[in-house]
């Protein structure tokens, strides 16, 4: 498939980059990225991936747009309140870039549906806010051999890492098991600066783009942390030894997905 004149112009700032070129842009147009959670992280990630011409973007989210989302979830606007987030996100993307096909899944991910959901995608982006979902996404990606970007944000801090099968530790290598309910504060309880989703969600989009075009170094084996108050980024090198991991190790003890319980107070 050759790029049309319109695409040559739309993506001209990409195509002029030696790391991208027409070849990289075609890879983007042929790529399929699934975003789980169209919220603080997923909103900016979806927008940059759509603008970049990622040809197929899947968005999974069961929620509706709430007034309290709009401080950070910039893919949704005031008229979208009450609308399904996946619908609102798909409408925004359709306006941004007609090259993008959006698949919407108005559902929560669970052990029942996630493996099938991620199977047809090249790269998965975790934009969820809670640990049951984060561990579920990790384990499913390990089992389905899918690369994914993990991220978390709270208050003035954010962090992310990238898992690529066979190229370093997974999320469970680092964090082992979800913390008990209410042991670790959530954004709803502790707050988050809206632009944090923009910083970290955009970095997740950057990881997806680099993976697709096959250029640069990914955050595999590295947890990148960001503190907005001190304006410091810090790369934490993760241990290389993953053979003991319960899911990605040599003798996994987790061979079926687990639906962990989530704190009730985060229901909304």
């Amino acid at each position: 498939m050759a790029l049309t004149d319109e695409q040559m112009e739309r993506y001209s700032r990409h195509i002029i980059l030696k790391e991208v070129g027409a070849k990289g842009q075609k890879k983007l147009l042929e790529a399929k990225v699934l975003i789980i959670g169209a919220g603080g992280l997923g909103a900016p990630a979806a927008m940059y991936l759509a603008a970049a011409g990622v040809g197929t973007i899947g968005i999974a989210d069961a929620d509706e747009v709430d007034l309290s989302n709009l401080q950070r979830q910039i893919i949704h606007g005031t008229p979208d309140i009450g609308k399904a987030k996946v619908k609102s996100a798909a409408e925004t993307i359709a306006q941004m870039n007609p090259d993008v096909k959006v698949n919407t899944y108005r559902t929560f991910v669970s052990s029942e549906n996630i493996r099938e959901l991620i199977r047809e995608y090249d790269f998965i982006l975790d934009g969820t806010d809670n640990f049951p979902a984060k561990f579920l996404i990790n384990d499913a990606c390990v089992m389905e051999k899918k690369p994914f970007s993990h991220a978390g944000i709270i208050r003035f801090k954010g962090q992310l890492m990238t898992y690529v099968p066979g190229q370093g530790p997974c999320y469970r290598c680092v964090f082992k098991n979800p913390p008990p309910k209410d042991a670790v504060p959530t954004c709803k309880q502790a707050g988050v600066i809206g632009a944090m989703g923009g910083v970290i969600g955009s970095l997740q989009a950057m990881e997806a783009i680099k993976y697709i075009i096959g250029k640069g170094e990914l955050l595999t084996g590295v947890l990148l942390t960001y503190n907005a108050l001190t304006m410091e980024f810090h790369k934490i090198k993760l241990p290389k030894d993953t053979h003991n991991c319960a899911v990605c190790g040599e003798h996994p003890t987790i061979t079926e997905l687990i639906d962990y319980e989530q704190a009730e107070c985060d229901r909304k």
Binding site: G152, I153, F175, P179, C187, M196, H234
Partner: protein
């Protein structure tokens, strides 16, 4: 002795233990933090017995949620 904590060099007393450092650093939710020393994870049941050495590189890895609901609850 000098150790590195979260990328920053710090002067600490000889024989400082990991639980003492966790207190000094005001680590949030210390029971749920993952610790690495010199790019090796310290198993949670080994934290109490870990004595730090000159030149050690300590990192604290925190649970962080954020983003959007993903699973039903």
């Amino acid at each position: 002795m000098t150790i590195t904590v979260a990328g920053e060099k710090k002067e600490v007393k000889e024989g400082l233990t990991l639980p003492e450092l966790i207190l000094l650093e005001n680590v949030e939710t210390p029971e749920y933090v993952t610790v690495s020393v010199n790019e090796e994870f310290v198993a949670s049941d080994k934290v109490a017995d870990t004595v730090l050495q000159e030149g050690d590189n300590v990192e604290f890895l925190y649970f962080m949620g954020g983003g959007c609901h993903g699973v039903d609850r």
